[in-house]
Symmetry: C3
Subunit: 681 residues, 3 copies
């Protein structure tokens, strides 16, 4: 059983009864009569929580030090009178025009040295003293005024840190980077050694000679780039902490900021999870993906894992299409409910949207909303009302948890490092591999946590490492111990290559996992573009690997699949090693989601787990309550499926026994007897 699944104290949670329902509310764009219409409609839809003030800096602090809270007073009072709670935002993601006019040097600068201009959002330098002062002051003033307002149940700091821009190449940022490096390394000798500056003559003799990895004639030292990403993340966290602490000085409500798990890649969320009171997340479907529910599940599982398994808040998703993708596909009828229930099933006890009412103007006018441009006589509005009604029936699920037998390792530093230039093959994509392995597990009906490679993994039967290019010796030892103690570990190719400084591990490729996997890799054999080769599993199953083969040096592992064409002909494609009480599997190539099926089937046997046996695209997740379990079932298919969960469907009120049908596109939330301790999980 994993560490965090034993809750020692209740999570802080906004004082909203039942499942929270609502969204971002930006009434600044509307006249007062619309406000009054809004609260009526909110009540109709069952909305009980709205996020307010996310982009209101310039309308509150109208000039430096001049605060006008009147409209916000009126708004919060109106909401409170109507029983709608408020998640009060600090609008620091978008400083006002006067700020940049007064402090033009406080603008973020891009890699080419161009300072960002006004007119969109999010252009402040995290390292500008005036910015940091201004956000502290604003947060203080806001908290001072509203800490005790009865409508306010939570604080929402900033918006999507790192989006649209995280890295700042300004002189202010470079100065802060040097300080951060000095704190990290202590001496220039240590830094020179860590970065390997002897190569290409990059050694530093003075701290102030160090720059940001901006525009250069060729590829920049990847250790420097990696540290710049870490520094950026740390600088953003410092900004958050300034605001959090300013609020906390006045207010007792939980404080959060909204993540973009596996959708934005600037912030290392394992670290952020430690500094928020509640984990909250924004999620948007990838419109080009006709099976968007898989990416959604990955993001939701990652978010729950960030929350230590505790319930979390879906701070933003969309009722239908978004506006910022190349083709903004609308959600199909019922899809919004399926999406919402999937988040809910995976631990979200708050289902919120961006945004309440579609904006007539501004860059997101084509983003769907709870109240669409078409008004309330519309499919979207009717489904919004239906969803509100549905969520009002499942309040008892609140606080229950999801438990998983399988963990997929997720380390943003490894993704960063692998995505820098000059890797063996640009076709080997860490995000694609994470998705591919996750998708295989999802299609097999297994519930999955995401985990950092340094985590205590002993509660998991299976740990999958799809993209562990950067893996510290300590983390590799953690994985090796996991195997020794009985775990099953599955590692994908190009893992355990470099340490935390992007330096190749002594001993060669994969050496730190050599004990767990029973092999090392002598040489990579990337394939030319679009080449497909062949491999055979030892049971004769034919596979069609792509992208990558390897010259593998077996050191105890047995060969489970072998390449039968390509430069790696005769080399192992899949291996299995036995170490202590556990097993270390290795896939030394790139397999499609389909080709992973027979391979994973073998791995599951070692891990003593089994696929759900349900047809693909039927999503079934269990939330464990104190005395009862709740099974959330979602049928993404175009036909009905047969399920055999016994209990009461909280949504329909039906009592379910024996085998029953879940219609095409339908959802259910079934109160059922708890599974036997340790069984099934």
């Amino acid at each position: 059983m994993i560490q965090w699944s034993v809750m020692t104290s209740p999570a802080p949670w906004p004082a909203v009864p039942g499942i929270a329902y609502g969204g971002d509310y930006n009434p600044e764009q509307w006249p007062r009569e619309t406000w009054r219409e809004d609260v009526v409609l909110m009540r109709e839809a069952g909305v009980n929580l709205v996020s307010v003030g996310i982009f209101s800096w310039g309308l509150i602090e109208t000039a430096e030090g001049i605060f006008d809270f009147e409209w916000l007073d009126e708004l919060l009072d109106l909401l409170h009178e109507n029983g709608i709670s408020v998640d009060l935002g600090t609008p620091t993601a978008s400083p006002p025009a006067w700020f940049f006019s007064a402090y033009p040097h406080a603008r973020a600068v891009n890699k080419e040295g161009v300072p960002m201009g006004f007119g969109s959002r999010g252009m402040a330098s995290h390292s500008a003293a005036e910015y940091v002062k201004a956000i502290g002051t604003f947060s203080s003033e806001l908290a001072r005024r509203y800490a005790d307002h009865p409508a306010v149940v939570m604080w929402h700091v900033h918006n999507e840190y790192g989006v649209p821009v995280g890295e700042d190449y300004s002189e202010l940022s470079v100065g802060a980077f040097r300080e951060w490096l000095r704190a990290r390394y202590g001496t220039l000798d240590a830094l020179n050694a860590a970065w390997g500056t002897a190569f290409w003559g990059q050694n530093y003799g003075e701290w102030h000679h160090i720059t940001a990895p901006g525009r250069a004639p060729s590829t920049i030292n990847q250790a420097q780039k990696l540290d710049f990403m870490r520094f950026t993340d740390a600088a953003l966290r410092e900004c958050y902490i300034v605001e959090r602490d300013a609020i906390r000085a006045f207010a007792k409500q939980p404080i959060t900021t909204n993540f973009m798990a596996h959708q934005s890649f600037t912030t290392d969320l394992w670290k952020w999870a430690e500094i928020v009171d509640i984990v909250s997340n924004d999620h948007y479907l990838t419109a080009a993906d006709a099976e968007g529910e898989i990416g959604l599940s990955l993001a939701a599982d990652y978010t729950r894992s960030l929350a230590g398994g505790k319930p979390w808040i879906l701070m933003e998703h969309s009722t239908s299409a978004v506006n910022w993708q190349p083709r903004n596909v609308a959600k199909l009828p019922g899809e919004m409910a399926r999406n919402s229930l999937s988040h809910f099933g995976r631990g979200a006890d708050a289902i919120l949207f961006f945004q309440w009412r579609a904006s007539r103007a501004g860059v997101e006018k084509f983003h769907s909303a709870m109240v669409p441009h078409a008004g309330t006589d519309s499919r979207v509005w009717r489904e919004v009302v239906e969803l509100g009604a549905a969520l009002s029936k499942v309040g008892e699920v609140k606080g229950s948890e999801v438990r998983a037998d399988v963990a997929v390792l997720y380390d943003l530093e490894s993704i960063w490092a692998q995505e820098f230039e000059w890797r063996p093959s640009e076709d080997l994509d860490p995000r694609e591999r994470i998705r591919a392995y996750y998708e295989r597990l999802w299609r097999d009906g297994l519930t999955v946590d995401l985990a950092h490679p340094s985590a205590d993994l002993s509660g998991y039967k299976l740990v999958v490492a799809p993209a562990s290019y950067l893996l510290s010796a300590a983390d590799a030892a953690n994985l090796t111990t996991y195997v020794e103690q009985g775990g099953t570990l599955l590692v994908s190719c190009f893992s355990a290559i470099v340490d935390e400084h992007d330096a190749v591990h002594e001993g060669g490729f994969v050496a730190p996992l050599g004990g767990a996997l029973g092999l090392t890799v002598e040489e990579f054999l990337p394939l030319r573009e679009s080449v497909v080769v062949s491999a055979s599993l030892d049971d004769g199953t034919e596979l069609a690997p792509t992208v990558w083969q390897e010259d593998i040096r077996l050191e105890g592992a047995e060969v489970v699949a072998t390449h039968t064409s390509g430069p790696g002909t005769g080399e192992p494609a899949v291996t299995r090693n036995s170490l202590g009480k556990g097993y270390g599997w290795y896939v030394g190539t790139v397999l499609s989601v389909a080709d992973l099926k027979p391979v994973l089937a073998r791995v599951y046997q070692d891990a003593d787990i089994a696929p759900s046996g349900l047809p693909e695209r039927v999503e079934v997740i269990t939330r464990r309550g104190e005395t009862e379990d709740f099974v959330i079932a979602i049928n993404h298919r175009d036909d009905a499926v047969t399920l055999a969960v016994t209990g009461e469907d909280l949504l329909s009120g039906d009592t379910l026994t024996g085998e029953w049908e879940l219609g095409a596109g339908d959802v259910a939330a079934i109160r059922t007897a708890p599974a036997a301790e340790g069984g099934g999980r």
Copy 2:
């Protein structure tokens, strides 16, 4: 009958007998003996008008305030002695090196903040006081010297405004932008409301906080961008007016500047048409398009419409290949004549080329010319001489007009607005849709005007709106009135979505045309990339829509075609509404030119018009003279076609009666009896 077809006063026209023929003449590149050879050859080719001085600033004003007119005196005298008239250019599109050396801040700056460098052309900031002063001075001096020169019959200000660069992000431009905005909006409250700055916290408290929409971390407010495009266009027009007025102080000849209708998209030509004495246009084939004559026709029809239906000048086209496209396909034998006759048939009473003699040096050395690198023993020269001879036979056509029953709406502001980022689907391309609908009408043999949506449309039987994303309430009312009074209106999807500030119309999508079309649109259903769906016309014809479907709310319209696959299955694809005496058709999807055929056939019935019945790619246009008509017929096909126009072919001298053949690739210009008033049109 449309407003402008009743001419109340004769158009100003350069004093050149018959159809003007010639081109840009840049003798600065050549020694004097070549000049003398040139005029001999010009006479051989029938050239009677050349444009001179377009790029001669630095050779005339050799240093600031130092003018050397000697060579130009000599040139104009030489031309005049040889009976060749001159269109005298102001070379202000390309200020000399000394200007930018003296005034480096007068350079245009791109979106990234990089000032444009010297070595190409067109890099001056429209908002630099020194530039505006310099062009005024130059134009004055030029006009003072040559206003009474007998060779000069016209003035040619600048060259292709907005090309190669229009938008300027310099501080000077930003300052001018603020002034323009202050004049437009009066108060910041009005601007904040118009731009919807409440969204993303962009409200402005001071005019000087406003910037140009340059480099920013995310998408910039589209209303701001739209106003910046309008401002740029206005600033360029102000520059034109400075020069025009400077010339007018001395000279009586007509003044023009050369447009690039539907080939450049920085200048809003409806506005420019009001400030030139004669409309002139440059046109170049799109080499990748094997049926370039269709785009040519669109540009020519647009130009004629800009001219209010009056004759216009084809200021530049090419004898064969251009040099600036990826693959510069040469014209086929006869193609230059066909192109020229098509412009002529569509109202051009002057057929001019860029340029007279191919340049040996400089960036356009591979641009074809009237005298090619190969000299006069060449196909191109022989065709140039033949064309000159042909045009000398059609002088009586001069001044006659083209009339159309069909108008296609063309509003650059709508194109601008739709092409900004973050629209529902990047596959829905307004220029492509304009071309597709135009092409359908062209292939059906119908003569078409282009019109602004605010124009008096009462003279047209059919008005087509292929890309009216931005449509003001007033313009929508204009279209609605048009229908009520008996017109047939055909509107394509994603029209009437936003107002002049890019704000979604109150009432929802298409609401301002709801009365005319009998519907509104509840939600857009963009398709994923490359997806093709199916739809059926009510007569069973199968269609293959792409890109786009919609959730349509019928409010009186009848369904003519229905989607049979895709997310919009069951939704209308084509509808027809009856309002007052007219009809409002709507195509709620993207249909190919071929699929538009059966749809338009139905629309034509309502509009009481009929296709020509000729094979495709046989172009027949009628110019209406005071007492006679002239039918220009062009066969773009590889086989002969049968026509039945009665009259005299001015080119061959043949008398044509009954049915006769027009050979593959051939052209004819037939004097014929005028059509009955009101008939056929």
Copy 3:
């Protein structure tokens, strides 16, 4: 017989016995114990020459004027004690961090005006006085200290001039450019004439008005760009000469810098060859090309030709994959030896690698090395040792030369000029054409030199001009004389179009070669994208031309192939002209390597040469010694082939007579009797 094949004095050559073997050695990255392991392994592998200090500036001159030579003393002594000679590098390709911190204006600036930042390499401005002073000082100090060190046998100035960045758009560079232009043209009138500045109004009245061809609104004058490329190359050569002369003041050993023949395109190597003592070259396979040996042969033949036919040094290649391509394909077993023998067969008497030991850190950590990350129990190490042993057996070949009957013209200025914007078709790629014609000759088993069009070509039976777009009148006359005197010349389309100022030749396209080819070209007929047309050879062979047709004016040539489709139907595709004792062939279109076969077969007849008759991909080259010949045979095929060379295979020790088999992938180096003088060649 060609001029340079008569050696009047022995080439300078580093004092290394036999064939030199080794690579770049960067021990700065490793502790002292690794150094000691390194020399033991070097001896095991037969390494006798290593390049040292290439990137060590900051570790030697640790602050301005402070030199620390201790570690280098120790290293050179260690190498010398172990019998390993040293090629001592000046690390001036990568100035240290302190240099750029002290002299920030000495950074190169890109086209957009962005100064290059630190963190990669090669960012100094060639025109910064401080940079030039610093490299002179460093080279002096290095040479002063090590001129007499017994390990040092050669000097290696800088690294790959022009890579990663050559052009510098800084103010310093612009100033130097103006001086260079003043020296080239003398007067502004001459410059204005040469650049054709009359076009687009670009004439200059003052030298200081001239700028670099940086960011501009449209295409910049190509003559200006061409001169900027020439200037850049000249400025880099001046930097080289500063260092060379500083070293020569102390040292007697030969001095070189490593070229990147046909892989980098900034330096005009014909000019560089004149200022180095020995020609050396770096070569890396194009991983995407499964037949990389062809590009390798082209680079090696070009390098040998640069060396005037004398032996040269392969300064860098790779043992297996590189790291900077999109997909870094590993070398197959034996491929490294085949590659090395091919260089050796084509004249390389030194086979060196980048680098000795794979770097754990830095941007090239995934570049293969002699000692790979996997250590010595690896395929790569075993092959490195085998190759060292093989090279130790072929020492007697050293100094022998390769002679060719065929020359392919190679003029970087012509490649530069053709690759600027606004050419007739972007599909006509000069590098691709050079490769295609070279490849045809390679597949036909012919040995080829590369030659500048101004060279004495009288020793060649066949001269091929695949990409002579820019061809001066003098060079055209040289080619014409070559034909008149009995040579066979084959010219590909779009040749002899412009002179050295990118101005179209008077008389029209191809006019300067009109006499040699018996034709000129009236007009280019580029094809639309992906269009394939047809043509017939006069023997009925069908060809499938692409990209290009022409309207050809025959002036004496006979037609050998005719286009049968496309806009050039009926036009000649291939022609043959007789002039004096020789023949001028012309291919007026783009033919594939396969389609060139029947055409070249006809050309060979006129040139009195014959293909080798061997299967494709069997590479056989002869090096001519003073008394014996050496035949290097390389089988790139997957099957064995039969050869009939008589002699002793120096590698196996076998005596070969009659017909014998060379196994799949195998190599041989056979001492044989010299070919009869003048025969075969």
